[in-house]
Symmetry: C2
Subunit: 196 residues, 2 copies
């Protein structure tokens, strides 16, 4: 079974308690359980640590954010990324060759979505013979305690228009993203259910 | 006759000399002449002063940038804008009522395209019952001496996606923009020619 939630740690307290309750009951069942998230502001390790502190009985291997899936794609296709991501996500890419980039990865970079950084990502893309843009999600916006914030999808659309290309989305609701989770479970699509 | 150029002052020197030569020859003819530009980083007055310093024999009333056209639309429709524009353009809107905004205007804001400012423009739009977004152009990018820069169209697309709406473009190649210039000349479309 998939449990999909986006940045549960940013949700309201009541919803979070509900999620923890649901997760405990599912853990008691015989079902295989995986957690899919579009969280791209922290490494998987740090994100899971945060969930554990909030009361979730959860391990790193059960959680599927977009960044590790993106790294698998980079390895498969021999691509070296220019990163426009949140500082908290950078360590996830420590072992990735980023010299002479031949693609761009955009995540929910928040404060790093500056005019300078967007121009830089654009210049990398427009300078490539075959520009490849990966987006770690396609969300429009989300709510934080201090108000609504633009999400990664908005900046994906900006770069798509600038370079007249279509980004490859890695994360929910991309079928290839869900397939990578199925592969981990050793199951077919008709053998699982999801809350999303 | 229309002469259309985008930010001539940012072009290479050879092209600028050529434009000045063309403009002088046209001035010597009997043709009515108007200059259409998508310049949105300065007021019309300051932009024309810059062109005059560069050698153009040109007056403010001959030059048509998007901002004055936008102000005419605001007046017609009783709209009060939230501005996401370049600091150099702000004085153009000095006399415009910007209290309790019921629309957003985005221009080539350059350094003002910060994460904070984009979030703010988005929050204004998403908070409106009938969100209205005006974009002073739809360019993808342009070249400056220090490299390629993302243009207003890219940020227009970002806000369009965020709010699931379609912006109203004021500037080239919008037919209503050209119509405002025709009105000024007292001519019909089949009575003019353009270099664009």
């Amino acid at each position: 079974m998939f449990m999909c939630y986006r940045s549960a740690v940013r949700q309201h307290a009541a919803e979070l308690i509900c999620l923890i309750g649901a997760e405990e009951r599912l853990k008691e069942s015989d079902l295989q359980l995986r957690f899919c998230t579009n969280e791209t502001q922290a490494t998987r390790k740090n994100f899971v640590a945060k969930l554990q502190r909030l009361g979730f009985d959860i391990s790193v291997s059960e959680v599927f954010p977009p960044a590790p899936a993106a790294i698998a794609v980079l390895n498969e296709r021999g691509l070296r990324p220019h990163l426009l991501v949140h500082d908290g996500l950078l360590p996830e890419f420590d072992a990735v060759d980023k010299t002479n980039p031949n693609c761009v990865i955009v995540g929910d970079a928040a404060e790093n979505f500056s005019y300078q950084n967007l121009n830089e990502a654009f210049r990398v893309l427009i300078g490539l013979e075959r520009p490849v843009l990966f987006s770690l999600g396609q969300g429009r916006y989300y709510k934080e305690t201090d108000g609504l914030k633009l999400d990664v999808g908005v900046y994906m659309k900006a770069l798509e228009y600038a370079c007249d290309l279509k980004a490859e989305v890695i994360g929910k609701p991309s079928p290839t993203f869900f397939q990578s989770v199925l592969n981990d479970m050793g199951l077919k699509p008709n053998e699982v259910c999801s809350n999303e």
